[in-house]
């Protein structure tokens, strides 16, 4: 299979979007799903706990140098940047990027550079511009990019910013994103 990693970015309204996205993936889903959801810097692991209720996939908050395994859902911890290296994660406490830590751009750019054409970038609802540069970088490095249809998003600004910044492969309403990911992971849509 060509794809090996899915990275997902979400901000305002992201919790419900993530519930629906993860809820749409089957228990035998084979790709790792790595999520940055903007939230306050002193949040605990509540997001992972709540998302666990919506999916039968294992959901964990990432620790430094944790290995990337198939079929797992990984959440960026609050107040750390999450980066992808070949085969594992790395964390950083460097300053926020565009007011965000974790930053979607930081995750997406590192994923694009480590996994190149094997990455799928998914950008969901949000009211800022984070993720737009990261999506462009994924595209540049040969990966595939999906954004939530701005009209169907709780806040369309973040998807719109990404659409303005680079050529996006698919603009989809939320329910169709999970379907697309299932199809592409099982090889039934080999060509983006």
């Amino acid at each position: 299979m060509r794809y090996e990693l899915i990275v997902v970015g979400a901000s305002l309204g992201g919790f419900h979007a993530l519930e629906m996205l993860l809820g749409g993936l089957p228990p035998n889903f084979s790709l790792p799903v790595v999520i940055v959801q903007h939230r306050s810097s002193d949040s605990d692991d509540l997001l992972a706990v709540l998302l666990k209720r919506k999916t039968r996939l294992p959901v964990v908050e990432v620790e430094d140098k944790q290995a990337i395994m198939p079929g797992q859902v990984y959440i960026a911890p609050a107040n750390y940047h999450l980066l992808v290296e070949e085969g594992h994660f790395a964390l950083s406490t460097e300053p926020p990027v565009e007011f965000a830590r974790p930053s979607i751009d930081v995750l997406f750019e590192s994923a694009a550079e480590a996994f190149r054409e094997r990455v799928i970038g998914v950008l969901l609802t949000g009211s800022n511009r984070d993720g737009a540069q990261g999506m462009a970088r994924i595209k540049e490095c040969g990966g595939i990019t999906l954004v939530q249809d701005p009209a169907s998003a709780e806040s369309g600004r973040m998807p719109e910013a990404a659409i303005a910044a680079s050529e996006i492969d698919r603009v989809l309403p939320l329910p169709e994103i999970a379907t697309f990911l299932i199809d592409i992971s099982t090889g039934s849509k080999v060509k983006a």
């Binding site: 990432v62 430094d64 911890p77 980066l83 594992h88 790395a90 950083s92 930081v106 750019e109």
Partner: protein, 278 residues
């Protein structure tokens, strides 16, 4: 965004050459830093020097020591806060302090102390627990510029409100403001707090052990190292810890991927406080 368009393979070559050159000429070894975040800081540095490529940076650094000074500052991450992750300090008070109270003399190594906020936090905690006079804290960092600020013990007043909140959540027994004097925009910490602190330069990558310690704290430093280097530093910590000594890591760091996992016991679930058991 011109740099983001760079060919990642060519950039990898440039990074390798630059870090090798820095190591050979200046002796600072960044070759086994975690690659993804290091790459981001290197790109920022290229921009801040108004240069186009890492190869140009290499030329300037090797011939201009002032540029190298800026490089060290740009490559090391110096984000810290007083009583950062308050639950860590709460667990330290509950689980570690009772053990330390049984010792006649206590040596603590704070490795990678940056500007010192967490060192003063520990000095305050130990003072409140009545054991500070029996302690010696060795606070080290590779970066001389931040060490100097740590020695001064003067922090921006604007951060104190947040630190007071952390202090209270960390189990503070008094009021943080008892420990500093406000002077214009600064909070100047009581000099009695640094009586038993030794600040000195130490590079975890290239320097060895220098004592035997009852406690080693190294929080959010190892995240900037790759696994090979992390393992080497864990060897150094293990060798430097007294039997039943305590190792404290950052909130999202773990001993689990190191070769020494089985040599430690978790002291408090959810906190990165480990006790050496062999």
């Amino acid at each position: 965004m011109t740099r983001a368009k760079a060919d990642p393979d060519l950039e990898a070559v440039e990074i390798k050459l630059l870090l090798e050159g820095v190591y050979l000429h200046y002796g600072y070894d960044f070759r086994e830093y975690a690659s993804a975040s290091l790459r981001r800081r290197l790109r920022d540095f290229v921009r801040s020097e108004n240069l186009a490529t890492l190869s140009q940076v290499q030329d300037r650094i090797l011939h201009d020591p002032a540029c190298f000074e800026r490089f060290i500052v740009a490559l090391t991450v110096n984000v810290t806060a007083m009583f950062r992750d308050p639950s860590f300090y709460l667990a330290f008070r509950a689980k570690v302090v009772p053990m330390l109270k049984t010792y006649p003399f206590i040596r603590i190594w704070h490795a990678g102390c940056s500007t010192g906020e967490e060192v003063y936090s520990m000095a305050i905690l130990l003072t409140e627990e009545g054991i500070y006079e029996r302690c010696r804290i060795y606070a080290t960092d590779l970066n001389e510029a931040v060490l100097k600020r740590a020695k001064d013990g003067i922090f921006p007043l604007q951060f104190m409100q947040g630190y007071i909140g952390n202090y209270l959540k960390s189990g503070g027994k008094g009021s943080l403001s008892e420990y500093y004097t406000a002077n214009y925009d600064n909070a100047i910490f009581r000099s009695s707090l640094k009586e038993n602190i030794v600040f000195s330069q130490h590079n975890l990558v290239t320097d060895g052990s220098f004592n035997e310690f009852n406690v080693i704290l190294c929080r959010n430093v190892l995240i900037y190292f790759n696994q090979v280097l992390q393992n080497r530093v864990h060897n150094l910590f293990f060798e430097s810890l007294a039997p039943f000594g305590i190792l404290g890591l950052g909130h999202k760091e773990t001993i689990s991927y190191s070769p020494h996992e089985q040599h430690y016991q978790v002291l408090e679930v959810g906190e990165k406080l480990y006790r050496r058991i062999t």
